[in-house]
């Protein structure tokens, strides 16, 4: 065992984590996150390679193709930090080993990050915040912003530390058992919440009149028999509270009928239609614009 000459302090690793938040900043079609990756490593490389030639070699080594989920890059960064530290201390770590760890981890980890963060945590927190915000409640956006960033920063820091401490041994571990379980669990919870969201928030209202039947006398408020002025308003409100109808006829819209069957059915069917279209490779943008056109047409025709 060679005695370690340089080690990365907690402060250095924190700086790396902070830098890693710009991982996608220079995202490009050629090597994707490579610039951001090199930028993330710089606080560590400065400490490890004070010598200019070593620094140049290290920078070039880290400017190769890289792409994964921006948060799941953290455990990979952690492992790479451990390897670079060994290398700087004279242990034989060739460039291929570092490259191998990066490539070996980035694929499986991206597969975990997308469903967990983009498709479970963000929609759930977003829906929670939005449902409050729609009524003008400032807590909605505040809750979303604080919860999201707490979860995110904790995740970045602890997974990077995990990777750093476990070193290269972790790379096979991480893509196996536990993470698979987390992904599956996230998908289950995500699907549950999606089912609920579609029922609650896809708003489709068919105003088309299905029937209009007259209500028996005594079942509606007889406006002609009310006393005039405020007394009349009071009387009308009392009668309304007793369940009397405001009009002489009872209007049933298509929506009332649908709601009796299954509330939210129209929204569910629309979602299935969109899923089918997306699977047929129709661009989401075309679908979105199409829905606006349909909404306008149906409204003009009196369907909605």
């Amino acid at each position: 065992m060679t005695e370690k000459k340089v080690t990365l302090s907690k402060r250095d690793r924190w700086d790396v984590m902070w830098h890693s938040q710009l991982l996608q900043g220079s995202w490009n079609y050629e090597r994707m996150q490579n610039g951001g990756w090199a930028y993330s490593m710089i606080p560590a490389l400065r400490k490890l390679y004070p010598n200019k030639e070593d620094m140049a070699a290290a920078l070039q080594r880290h400017l190769v193709f890289f792409n994964t989920h921006p948060y799941l890059a953290s455990p990979i960064i952690g492992v790479t930090l451990a390897l670079e530290e060994d290398k700087a201390n004279g242990v034989e770590v060739d460039d291929e080993a570092i490259q191998g760890v990066k490539v070996g981890m980035m694929g499986p980890l991206a597969g975990v990050g997308d469903p967990v963060f983009w498709y479970t945590v963000r929609p759930i927190l977003g829906a929670l915040g939005a449902s409050m915000a729609i009524n003008g409640n400032i807590l909605g956006p505040i809750l979303f912003f604080i919860l999201w960033n707490l979860i995110r920063i904790a995740f970045l820091w602890y997974t990077q530390e995990l990777g750093y401490k476990a070193g290269a041994a972790i790379s096979s571990d991480l893509s196996g058992g536990l993470l698979k379980k987390v992904t599956r669990g996230a998908a289950m919870m995500g699907m549950f919440v999606l089912g609920a969201l579609i029922e609650r928030w896809v708003s489709i209202n068919f105003t088309l009149k299905v029937s209009e039947v007259p209500i028996q006398k005594g079942g509606y408020i007889d406006w002609t028999k009310l006393p005039s002025g405020t007394a009349g308003i009071k009387e009308a409100l009392i009668e309304r509270a007793h369940g009397l109808s405001l009009t002489k006829t009872k209007v049933t819209t298509l929506q009332d009928n649908l709601n009796m069957l299954v509330p939210g059915l129209a929204g569910l069917l629309l979602t299935f239609l969109c899923m089918w279209l997306l699977k047929k490779k129709v661009s989401p943008i075309v679908i979105i614009l199409g829905i606006f056109v349909v909404g306008i047409l149906f409204h003009v025709w009196g369907l909605m």
Binding site: L128, I134, G140, M191, V193
Partner: protein, 270 residues
């Protein structure tokens, strides 16, 4: 309403942050819930901004660029709709129209994203040069330049929208017939489904469909808040995984068979 110079600058700063985050995806300043609220705050229309953010967030829940599917740009949609809404001065009534207009703009914004990502290719080539010299300082600077370009991607369109005189925005919105703006509001209510469909297509498997069905059915009980629903969903997922582990440990045969169907395994053993 007319905005004074300070307000204009602050809106552009928010737009810049949203543009940066649109690519970084870290602090989430580009999510409508945050961006619209901030624009509402700096222009003195806080409540209006929050409400717009909420309804736009519902639409944008599933928007994420993964694989070949390209979603509209949430950052531009949020910033543009907030500016249109506030300049239009229609109050909460204008939310539907502003959303509809902004989504159309957000589609146009995709071209800007592609443009900046192409420019970034040139930037990383510059980084290569500095790397050869071991010049880490200039790599840091280059990275920040790339990030700032992403910020400008939203800040410049926001500035252009702000430059249009308030009167023009207002009269254009007022000239819009009721059938069009009402229809757009109705469309906005339905567009939410596209985001959900994108998410479901990514996550759905035979194993998780029952969770979807239960969620849909339970949401009909209006007394249950979203937090309560979330707690039920989380508990069920945990129970499912715990039971699965128990079964695979308890009965070696069933686990070895790997049916992936814990309930079936339990019934078989019974």
């Amino acid at each position: 309403m007319d905005l004074n110079a300070i307000q204009v600058i602050l809106v552009i700063v928010v737009a810049f942050l949203a543009g940066m985050e649109g690519i970084l995806d870290e602090w989430e300043f580009h999510q409508p819930l945050v961006a619209c609220t901030l624009i509402g705050l700096v222009t003195g229309n806080l409540t209006l901004g929050i409400m717009l953010g909420g309804s736009l967030q519902m639409i944008a829940l599933g928007w994420a660029n993964i694989g070949a599917a390209v979603a509209p740009d949430a950052a531009l949609a949020a910033v543009a709709s907030a500016i249109i809404l506030i300049k239009g001065g229609q109050g909460t009534k204008g939310i539907g129209t502003a959303t509809g207009l902004a989504i159309t703009l957000a589609v146009a914004g995709l071209f800007l994203t592609m443009l900046v990502r192409t420019i970034s290719t040139a930037i990383v080539h510059i980084m290569d040069k500095y790397a050869e010299e071991g010049n880490w300082r200039m790599i840091n600077v280059s990275q920040w330049i790339a990030v700032c370009l992403q910020g400008l991607r939203i800040a410049i369109p926001a500035g252009l929208l702000l430059a249009i005189p308030t009167e023009t925005v207002r009269s254009a919105l007022a000239a819009m017939p009721a059938w069009l703006s009402d229809g757009m509001t109705i469309g906005g209510g339905m567009v939410v489904a596209v985001g959900y469909a994108m998410v479901i297509n990514m996550m759905a498997s035979r194993e998780v469909w029952p969770f979807f069905a239960i969620g849909f059915a339970l949401a009909g009980v209006k007394d249950l808040t979203l937090i309560a629903l979330g707690a039920i969903g989380l508990s069920m997922a945990l129970m499912y995984l715990a039971l699965e582990e128990k079964v695979s440990k308890g009965s070696g045969d069933a686990a070895a068979a790997g049916t992936g169907d814990p309930l079936g395994d339990i019934i078989d053993d019974y």
